[in-house]
């Protein structure tokens, strides 16, 4: 329970930080914000790597593998496409 409260504290504070930071983003950058934040949500890749690498059972390894693939698409695709868009906003 003690541990849960600590974790919950981090969760609630992070939500507040998110609200503070995101409200300052202008509407013109909302699409890159979305694809960029989307890439960050691919952080679940960390969990996927652990499951794929720890190899407890064939099932968890397979799940880990597919999770790594999906999360990596999310991360690599997200950051790259955001970069492509932002370069267009910058070049003037």
């Amino acid at each position: 329970m003690e541990l849960f409260v600590t974790t919950l504290t981090i969760f609630v504070l992070a939500i507040f930080v998110g609200f503070e930071v995101i409200t300052k983003v202008p509407p013109s950058l909302h699409t890159p914000l979305m694809s960029g934040s989307n890439a960050i949500s691919g952080i679940t890749l960390v969990g996927a790597v652990l499951s794929a690498g720890a190899q407890h059972t064939a099932l968890t390894t397979a799940l880990g593998f597919f999770a790594v693939v999906f999360a990596t698409i999310n991360v690599v695709g997200g950051f790259l496409v955001t970069h492509r868009m932002l370069e267009m906003f910058k070049r003037k």
Binding site: L29, S35, S37, N38, I40, L45, N74
Partner: protein, 461 residues
């Protein structure tokens, strides 16, 4: 590597993610901000790979290579007009990954014969639920945007009852996962049921409401990662996930406000499914069509010209032609600005990306609040592919489905040129009196062709 070092690295990555989002507040800092985010991700993955629980690297490497390849091809090949589909797809993959990781964690704990605590089981159930909804919901959104299936809202009799039953089924399965976590079957059933819920939740939402759906799915993909963070007891996942969750919620809120509708109305209203109203009495005998030559003559004398783009500009890929026309006018000393409605297009900021692609300067893009005071002093407003967001009924008719929606006041400019294929209604399914207004000229044509014709006429004249 000692776990303290790993956790320090995770803390560093979390801080970098916050800086990445903070830097998105201006185009000057945004490119670097995105790279900072990518660096955070790189650090996080690197220290994880060095974790001593990992016994083999082949599978990880195979997954990373396959995912990077697919992701890179998608990111580099996608056209800017198709960005909403791309983001929808990425949201879906993120949600799926989170659900799979939670499933794997559950399987590992069962295999190890370990004890389940309540936080673990509840978070696992939530991960599966949110992840499944995000995955299939995003795929439906993708299919609609890519026009693999019809874009309109699909409504069927008794759909609310079906939705409620599906929701109750999902909740029951969540409870079963929590009560009997050692039965992996419950988790799989939950995953299946949540996917069905994802389909039901998005299938009833039509084209122009897509900005809300994509924002919401964006938020879900973050919350799914967050729930997985609770499963794995990993603070970095929780922080990164809640940042994204908050971001999606804010965007959802902004989109709903820009349509003056509640989230519940967007999600369950079946908006855009009703048959379009006949506009004959509104338009009869009042609509004036113009040729490219007449419009070019108008533009020659104009001091200030506004462009008002909508989804139609994206469909006809007209952004480059629009940019050329704007440049031509500026060379003649005409002041040009672009007025962007928050829900123009199919995702937040969609029009801005297209215009940035066409090299329109950032300063020329005006938000609704900045643009509206300028219209009364604007000689010509060119509406290209927008409809409901310039419909004056929103201001005048309290019974209209778009009543109270903030609109761009183009009707207050001296002359309005509407480039449109026909008089067909927009997504809201209502006629637009703007087309029949005294100061409006209709140019019936495909967007890109129309703008190119005007450019040619202007160059000749």
């Amino acid at each position: 590597m000692p776990s303290a070092v790993i956790n320090f690295a995770y803390l560093l990555a979390s801080v970098l993610f916050i800086f990445a989002l903070k830097g998105m507040s201006h185009p000057r800092t945004a490119v670097r901000a995105n790279l900072v985010g990518a660096l955070g991700m790189f650090i996080a993955v690197l220290v994880t790979v060095l974790d001593r629980r990992i016994v083999s690297y082949e599978i990880i490497l195979a997954g990373l290579i396959a995912g990077s390849g697919i992701g890179a091809v998608l990111a580099l090949k996608i056209r800017m007009t198709a960005m909403p589909q791309m983001v929808a797809l990425l949201n879906g993959f993120g949600g799926a990954a989170s659900a799979l990781v939670a499933g794997a964690a559950l399987g590992e704990t069962i295999h190890a014969g370990g004890a389940f605590d309540l936080q673990f089981t509840i978070a696992t159930a939530l991960s599966g639920l949110i992840g499944g909804v995000t995955f299939l919901g995003s795929l439906v959104a993708f299919a609609k945007l890519q026009e693999l299936i019809g874009g309109a809202a699909v409504v069927f009799p008794g759909r609310h009852a079906v939705n409620v039953i599906c929701l109750l089924l999902n909740i029951s399965l969540c409870v079963l996962v929590v009560v009997q976590p050692e039965q992996l079957l419950w988790y799989w059933l939950l995953l299946g049921a949540s996917c069905v819920l994802g389909v039901l939740a998005t299938i009833g939402i039509g084209g122009a409401d897509m900005p809300v759906v994509i924002s919401l799915l964006n938020s879900y993909s973050g919350l799914a990662a967050c729930a997985t963070g609770f499963v794995l007891q990993n603070n970095m996942l929780i922080i990164a996930g809640s940042l994204v969750g908050a971001s999606g919620i804010i965007l959802t809120e902004i989109m709903c406000r820009a349509m003056n509708r509640s989230l519940a109305n967007v999600l369950f209203g079946g908006f855009g499914a009703q048959a379009a109203a006949k506009g004959e009495d509104v338009y009869k005998g009042k609509v004036k069509a113009a040729s490219s030559e007449e419009i070019a003559m108008l533009l020659e004398d104009a001091q200030r010209v506004a462009f008002v783009p909508g989804y139609g500009m994206a469909v006809s890929q007209a952004q480059h032609a629009v940019r050329t026309l704007a440049g031509l006018l500026e060379e003649r000393g005409t002041e040009v600005f672009f007025a962007i409605h928050p829900v123009a297009g199919r995702m937040p900021g969609h029009m801005n990306v297209l215009l940035a692609e066409a090299d329109v300067p950032y300063e020329a893009l005006k938000e609704m609040e900045q643009a509206n005071p300028l219209f009364p002093q604007t000689d010509v407003s060119i509406v290209i592919g927008a409809n409901d967001v310039v419909n004056p009924l929103a201001r005048t008719d309290p019974k209209s489905p778009i009543a109270g929606m903030p609109i761009l006041d183009v009707d207050k400019s001296r002359t309005v040129v509407v480039i449109k294929r026909s008089l067909s209604p927009g997504f809201a399914g209502i006629p637009n009196p703007l087309f029949a207004a005294d100061n409006t000229l209709m140019f019936f044509s495909d967007g890109q062709k129309a703008v190119n014709d005007i450019i040619a006429a202007l160059r000749e004249g």
